[in-house]
């Protein structure tokens, strides 16, 4: 049987070029709608995204924890013994410091009480869902919402070190803006002399202060913030002082490691 092909025309499916040209306009239209929604209803989209993200963040923490434990199993016994001894020494040192701090804290509370300033007992524990390491904005997502916190509430680590403030509340979760977020600036007092300065956030738990070169500051000096009732903000880590400059740059970091924060305490503003 012969098949005659001479009369047959090859047909190709034509690409619908007009629909391809519409795609950028459609997507930009969606993006514009997105931006409008974020301006008019600023918490609608983040609230739903955080709702989706919450189980994923828990899953990530569980996986990382299991991986860390598995890694520790592979360490040699001698290495673990040495590390154990070092940590025991560190614990003893910290226990002594803790005793002294407890006494000072008690004295501080009594003095504040005499001056009519009582410390709030309304501290709520919150779990950190997403940490600063995953964000370029120096923010944390915690699992307390509008029933427990409000915008502007202070957030502490281990009860005494101020980490940041509640920036936005989304239903059952909130976002914390860290003190060290770029562009943030606070009035602080440095060291035992209480030298007044302005600290500017540099991100990732780091701050900088600019002071005249003659001012005596030492590494390890504590920095407190009178704007937040004298709470500890950080300790001096590095001093950049050159003879040709009139000013010295002091870099300090918060005593907390942003990657290690798992729990925070939120103080409700009265």
């Amino acid at each position: 049987m012969r098949i005659c092909l001479s009369g047959m025309k090859k047909k190709y499916r034509q690409r619908n070029r007009s629909s391809f040209k519409k795609i950028p306009f459609i997507l930009f239209g969606l993006l514009l709608l997105f931006i409008l929604l974020s301006l008019l209803l600023p918490t609608l989209i983040p609230r739903n995204l955080i709702f989706i993200g919450k189980p994923l963040w828990f899953l990530r923490e569980t996986v990382l924890l299991n991986l860390t434990e598995a890694r520790d199993l592979l360490r040699s016994k001698s290495e673990l013994i040495i590390k154990n001894k070092e940590e025991k020494k560190e614990i003893e040192k910290l226990q002594l410091q803790n005793l002294r701090l407890n006494l000072l804290e008690k004295e501080n509370a009594e003095l504040k009480s005499l001056l009519g300033r009582k410390k709030s007992d309304k501290m709520t524990l919150a779990r950190v869902l997403a940490k600063g390491a995953g964000s370029i904005y120096d923010s944390l997502i915690i699992d307390l919402g509008e029933k427990d916190v409000r915008k502007g509430d202070k957030v502490f680590v281990e009860g005494a070190v101020l980490v940041g403030l509640i920036d936005e509340v989304f239903g059952k979760n909130s976002r914390v803006k860290l003190l060290s977020a770029s562009g943030n600036s606070y009035k602080v007092e440095v060291g035992l002399q209480g030298i007044r300065a302005k600290a500017t956030g540099r991100g990732g738990g780091n701050f900088e202060i600019i002071l005249p070169r003659g001012v005596e500051i030492g590494i390890g000096d504590e920095i407190i913030s009178p704007a937040f009732e004298g709470t500890l903000v950080g300790v001096v880590d590095f001093i950049d002082s050159r003879p040709q400059d009139s000013f010295q740059k002091i870099l300090f970091k918060a005593p907390w490691d942003i990657n290690q924060i798992k729990w925070v305490l939120v103080e409700r503003n009265e």
């Binding site: 795609i23 930009f28 989706i52 370029i136």
Partner: protein, 88 residues
């Protein structure tokens, strides 16, 4: 790589990976696929979750702005890279 599966991976990377890993995946998306506009949407999702109040526009939507620039640059440079066919 299938664009649909890449989109799923990129969406979940917003929550599971660090910002720079998410950025690398986004960049890969702009070069792997033609007109990867959905990358802008994922960057906007990232900004909406993590950005803080009080920043100017260029500070509050950094991921979106950088993604837009990367999208434009990638579409422009792809024409000059020999790995891409002429119709990209």
């Amino acid at each position: 790589m299938n664009r649909f599966f890449f989109n799923i991976i990129l969406f979940f990377s917003i929550f599971l990976l660090n910002w720079w890993l998410f950025g690398i995946l986004l960049l890969a998306g702009f070069f792997l696929f033609k007109n990867f506009y959905e990358g802008l949407v994922y960057a906007a999702f990232y900004d909406l979750i993590f950005t803080v109040n009080g920043l100017p526009f260029y500070g509050a939507y950094q991921a979106v702005i950088f993604s837009f620039i990367l999208l434009v640059l990638s579409e422009y440079f792809k024409k000059y890279l020999k790995f891409y066919p002429d119709n990209v």
